[in-house]
Symmetry: D2
Subunit: 496 residues, 4 copies
């Protein structure tokens, strides 16, 4: 940016910040002649989980090959040239949305390391809650860290393990971890997938032309025409290898048996609506959240307007339950790419609407129910409510298809500090006033569980990781409870 | 592209080709300190009308400044640096989708010319039907053409006019034109807007901070917070200048009075749903097309599924009229940017679904009504119907919210040659078989006019340019009826 | 450049400005299967004549192909990809150092135009002295100019000619020109070379594998292994075509016979030392200038130090004539590419020596004779003399192997305005004081002619264009003597 | 490169390969407000020692900042933007010519590591002869290597040292090294310079505005206007820090005292002619090599022609000693940048001369003595001799200003495998026939020592590292004598 250019105006920065950010995606395939190309397609289908950077590592029988790029998969991995630089029939890939570490190339995954016995690469979706503590201990022992990701500690733990077999070293390493992870790893002989003991982050197994595939969501399997086999279980490690020309899958369970507790936010926000997570259609669940929401907090109105695109399924559910017509009262500009820099105060004051605009014909003179999936900081909601009023809405009722977010996440979702969360700072009436709506209502926690097919949440044995709404963190939080979380993970500032 | 890379597989090329392509957008502002920045924002709001290239020309009181780029406005005109290279308080801009001439930089508009009396720039939405004939005559007289656009002939006609005043030269020039145009032009003293005698292509007048704005659609005014004043009339030239520190607008009507006949496709497909064209909400009209379609060709079914995003308003209308629930049975990947090159036959055979995928939970075991806005070649429809069947649809009924397209356009819409148009080659039953649907129905021409608020089409005095459905071309077609349209407009092949 | 960055420090800008700048190079080949590749190699060999931009135009029997790039030939035309975009067996090329018009792509030559009868391209070394006058008249008649080069008027004159054959149109056009030119032009059937009536700028004819070549200097022929045939004569047009599979060369002389008067600066500075210009070895001539200089202004000294690399041949000549040893007392850094921006005042004050440095061991305690080819503004000389003194030189004697430059050039050499020329502002003693040397001497005009093999300059019939030293301009100067030379050739400012 | 493009023709590849390649350069400055800018200028002055990549690391009091780029300093570090990304008053920099490891960004130095006690960066000129052995042992112990350079082992050794102070850790580390090195290192508090026990690679100390500077050669000091203080001694570590606002320099000698034995090739080929190495002017030494060569192997001839630019000083010395005139019989093209790809066999057969061409006027009919600094593979020499004959030379006598190279280097000079060295494969007469000269002569080893100011080489206590001529390697060669040198240092192939 040239000096003198003023920063982007607050509206759009806020809009960007007022979301739960996606986390990451992983993908792997073993024994396929087009391993890199298929991995690129799989990562593209998982782009919604991370847009900052992507990487693919392949193994061709004698060497590993890596390509890492900042930006979208479709911009970086879509041409034949880059795919040709990734030979080999085994590949793993990763889309990154940074939750730890700056987004610079050395942080882009999969990470790679060379052991005495050969190389291996690893990609990680999730976040370790003792990553920093492990890192400090490793540095104290003379380890040199090349990235600022928490994932790198896994490499060092594997390298320092006294075991001989790669799988034993890997189990040695993950036993020391705390937090959430779905890993794909590639050694010279094996493709490995692993999910943390609670199964917080998702990972599914598929098959294409008889070859195994690992992916964060089923939509990646659908995109490439692969068959869904099953979800990797919580605490399970699957090891895919080839014996006598046939693919073999072994399952290991190195942890004590435990009930799964997947992250409820995959259903509310992260997963793609056409994915099936834990056996449930994400689209169906979201619509049911709309149904429950309509039941809990009905209101007399003329039109149900979704906040595009996140609020659409819940708004359809709300409309169907309530009988109030669903209309596109807000239109999204499909060509929002990079952000506009707005050079002068005058421009900023225009209230420019680059991403959304009101569809006045559906709003003017109407009682509008706005539906969105969740409320984070609330800064966007203020603007959207105002945009409805500017377009002539008679009343604006705001409905959220999930409960108030009162606690930060430490498992791979980029939530703001707790004191930035609107629901952690205000009660319902304060929030209503803040966003400027005539009425405001959230789905209840029990309503959320009902949408998931349960009667209610059982506080003794909750079925989902739902601390953002309840404060009930399912694992230890070593890094957070020990010393204060440092802002700066590296002494080295390095570009791209 | 590296040699050896195979071309993109036919599915996606077809999907891209099986659309009516957008045409162009124009924008202009006079007397505003942020002229270039506002023009960039306006072009961004009009991006749906042309994505191949954009240009902005400004005048700073002594010099004109031009920036032209291939690609999206948001990628090319969003930073302060490029805006700083465009000083001046008057600006015009253009988004290009090429209907004549290759997309190379010298063809990107606005075009610029220097007369003895000063410079002027011009941007054009539309297509001339005697452009080639005029071009040949000009070359015969010793004119040197720098571009291969039909717009360039206007520059030469203005330069060769014997009149003194720029406006008189401009009127001299456009009187020689045949076809469709909405022009914005900038001289050293004036901003000019002009619409062809029938008003085929749209152009609206707005105001921001007391300064006049011209734009192809009202959504550009909304995006920048400007006020809509009125549509430029068919055959009208508006001339905006400054006198004694105040903006003055003169209206000229150099053609014999004629009834307007705007292009009906702006309502069906081109205009953004939140725009108001000719006083009608585009979103409303599209929903009414869905209503009419449901009335004309109802079917027993379980679910109405729009083809995203073009079919959404009509599908909502169909659902509301029919009472059959509207569901997102097809999910669109929001991150489709550049196209993937698929390096091997194996990959192509996967039937990869990069842009859309079926939302199986809404389709499986259901009787599905697919709704789209229009049918061009039909190649995509085949794939989409098959995708529904693969996802388990029990029945697939295909409904189009416009009549069969039987004739090519010559006014700025990029339609295929006539023999590529499905409805020009087949009858209804043949088309149904081709796309593989259980039933197929189009909106009737009279149904289309009813959606526009008329009783029916009056063949004696049709209110819209609708030749694509009727073969009734409203202007002469000199280039097409004279000698055959040459494929190659220039002897010079030049990159970017 | 980021705002806030300060401009390059004066030393290096001055050093760059304190040269006569090269002018341009042309090259053409007809009927060779590798026409574009050979043209690229030829332009590379002629890179010393222009480094700002280059272009190649080829004709493949049905279309012309053009590639134009800012920067060096070796950086832009060295890969197979660009050469593959230039198919065809006829090609012309051009290296640009701008003497008129900004260096932007639309000004990069060869220029191209389409006539009713076909296309043609042209490249120009030289400068017209009535180009602006012609341009104004053309614009008055309705011509649209696409570039700001004087060369474009030739295109318009050819296009407007009433003659039928291309050659006749070309002759029509050049008869209206005044000034200096060596042209290469390519039509669909012919390669044409032309030199102005006085032969001010050079152009030679060669042959490779039986195919004719045109080039600015013989070094381009040597580089590609081609045979030198002869110099194109002053006022001659050569037309190369193919008849019955054989190349035919016609010579036309459309001007009244006149004695040649080539530019003397080709020998002093522009041509490459290994070129033979007008039958004379450039290296030999430069050494003889050193001989004559030593004879005219001998001095007692310990060492002859050339200013690299321009002063080397003359310094060798001086050394051989005087018997004083030649030493590299100044070392040139071979890696000076783009210029360093020096961000702070402190850095600027260091007196950083990026291009040259003193070789102290050859200078310290010595009486040094510095030899250079010519003196323009003198600003560099000041620094070089000071650098010698800083390195411990006991005495510094400055010798120039050409006479004082007292007049600007208008024929394609980029000289400063007259009042920036040191010798136009000061007498010899003032100049000596200015540069800080112990003694200062120039070669006399007669000495210069002696080095060329003459007895002396005959003022009645001088054999060379030598107005920079004598004020004797050999052609009319219509643009300069009419109205004042405008600073701004276009109303349009456009980037790259 | 596009597939299908043929590789560069053998001539030019050979010419490139037929050199001793430069090795690397280091530079450091402490406590200067413009540390990064001065380091960039210093690296630019040292560009002749390595052109593949460069890097700069700065420390700003709280963070380190790194910028690493492939290509030339002047292309990558010359603008204000990159310098602004390198804040801080302490900086070290490195130019790379790869002797171990591929040239990819992760191999570009300075390398950086974070210890428990803070970060440090290091740059290395030279080559370790036990680097691979150390690396294997470190990997066995669980170290993760991020680069394929031998320099990285130093980072790990420092990280694993049990000492507390950074300096003690550093001494711990370098005591384990074998081979040649000049290091610059930067910690949070200190700038460190170190030279191996024999002082094989050079390192000098300078001062600018009272701040210490370290550089490979004095020419870097001259370029920035700094004062030369002294050479770092063999086996010396200098530690520069600040105490009470004043710079302090400590000298440490952690090795047993030993006589220095610097590399003789710095004088023959590597160092810039204006540098003073070990107290001797490089230019003077080279001229004296020419003197000695003339004394040892005089020949009757008409002209002494240097091979530019490497042979110029020795040719001047030869000319002065012999009295035969020195002439530029070969002209070098100054614009050789990237290499031309020559797309067809026809082009390759032209014998294109991109880099040099004969200056026929100085060669034709003459007895020519060609002088170069050294002979490696001899492939270029064949072409140059032939070029002289093609230009009409009557006789060609080839003289080399250094002895025959019979042994490979392992200390940082990129020599070919021994069996590619011409002098290791042939006797003098065979070599003469191979290059096609009428006579061929090398400087003797004693002549070389005489040029250095000695009487002769004392085999018992040779003063210089001269194994390339004598086979007398001054250190152990652990990596070479142990197991065979592996071709592939990493399992990971990664682009730039």
């Amino acid at each position: 940016m040239t000096a003198g250019a003023e920063p982007i105006d607050s509206f759009w920065r806020e809009l960007e910040e007022d979301r739960l950010h996606e986390e990451c995606a992983v993908f792997g395939i073993f024994g396929h002649p087009d391993a890199a190309a298929i991995t690129a397609l799989g990562l593209h289908a998982l782009q919604h989980r991370g847009q900052e950077a992507s990487g693919i590592v392949t193994y061709d029988g004698s060497r590993f090959h890596a390509e890492k790029r900042l930006g979208l998969v479709g911009d970086n991995f879509s041409n034949a040239e880059v795919i040709e630089r990734l030979p080999g029939s085994a590949a793993i890939g990763h889309n990154r949305y940074s939750t730890t570490g700056e987004t610079i190339l050395r942080n882009v995954q999969p990470l790679f390391a060379e052991l005495e016995t050969g190389g291996f690469a690893i990609g990680h979706n999730g976040n370790l809650t003792n990553g920093l503590t492990l890192r400090k201990q490793l540095v104290r022992e003379g380890a040199l860290c090349q990235s600022t990701t928490d994932t790198e500690v896994v490499l060092h733990l594997v390298a320092r393990s006294q075991r001989n077999r790669f799988l034993d070293r890997f189990i040695d390493a993950i036993r020391q971890l705390e937090g959430a992870y779905a890993f794909v790893a590639l050694s010279t002989k094996k493709l490995i997938g692993a999910r943390d003991p609670l199964g917080i982050r998702p990972l599914v197994l598929g098959q294409l032309d008889g070859r195994y595939i690992l992916a964060s969501e089923t939509c990646a399997l659908d995109t490439i025409g692969a068959k869904y086999i099953r979800d990797i279980e919580n605490g399970e490690i699957v090891v895919i290898s080839e014996e006598a020309g046939k693919q073999v899958l072994e399952s290991h369970k190195p942890f004590p048996p435990q009930r799964a507790r997947p992250c409820i936010f995959e259903y509310i926000y992260f997963a793609r609506p056409d994915s099936v997570v834990g056996g449930k259609s994400v689209y169906d669940v979201r619509k049911r959240m709309g149904h429950e929401l309509a039941r809990e907090s009905m209101v007399e109105a003329d039109v149900i307007v979704p906040i595009p695109d996140s609020g659409v399924p819940a708004a359809l559910g709300f409309s169907q339950e309530s009988g109030i017509p669903f209309e596109l009262g807000i239109i999204r500009n499909h060509y929002v790419g990079r952000t506009f820099i707005q050079p002068t105060q005058r421009i900023r004051e225009l209230g420019v609407r680059l991403k959304h605009s009101a569809n006045r014909s559906q709003v003017e003179g109407k009682r509008v129910v706005l539906v969105d999936d969740s409320l984070v900081r609330g800064t966007t909601s203020v603007k959207i409510v105002q945009m409805m009023r500017d377009a002539g809405a008679k009343e604006v009722h705001f409905r959220l298809a999930s409960p108030p977010i009162t606690h930060s996440d430490f498992y791979g979702i980029d939530t703001p500090e707790r004191d930035k969360l609107l629901a952690a700072r205000m009660d319902l009436e304060q929030m209503r006033k803040f966003v400027g709506a005539d009425t405001l209502a959230f789905l209840s926690v029990d309503g959320l569980y009902r949408a998931m097919g349960e009667d209610a949440r059982d506080p003794a044995r909750p079925l989902y990781t739902d601390h953002c709404f309840t404060g009930d963190y399912p694992t230890g939080l070593t890094d957070m409870t020990g010393e204060s979380h440092p802002k700066q993970l590296s002494l080295l500032a390095e570009a791209g």
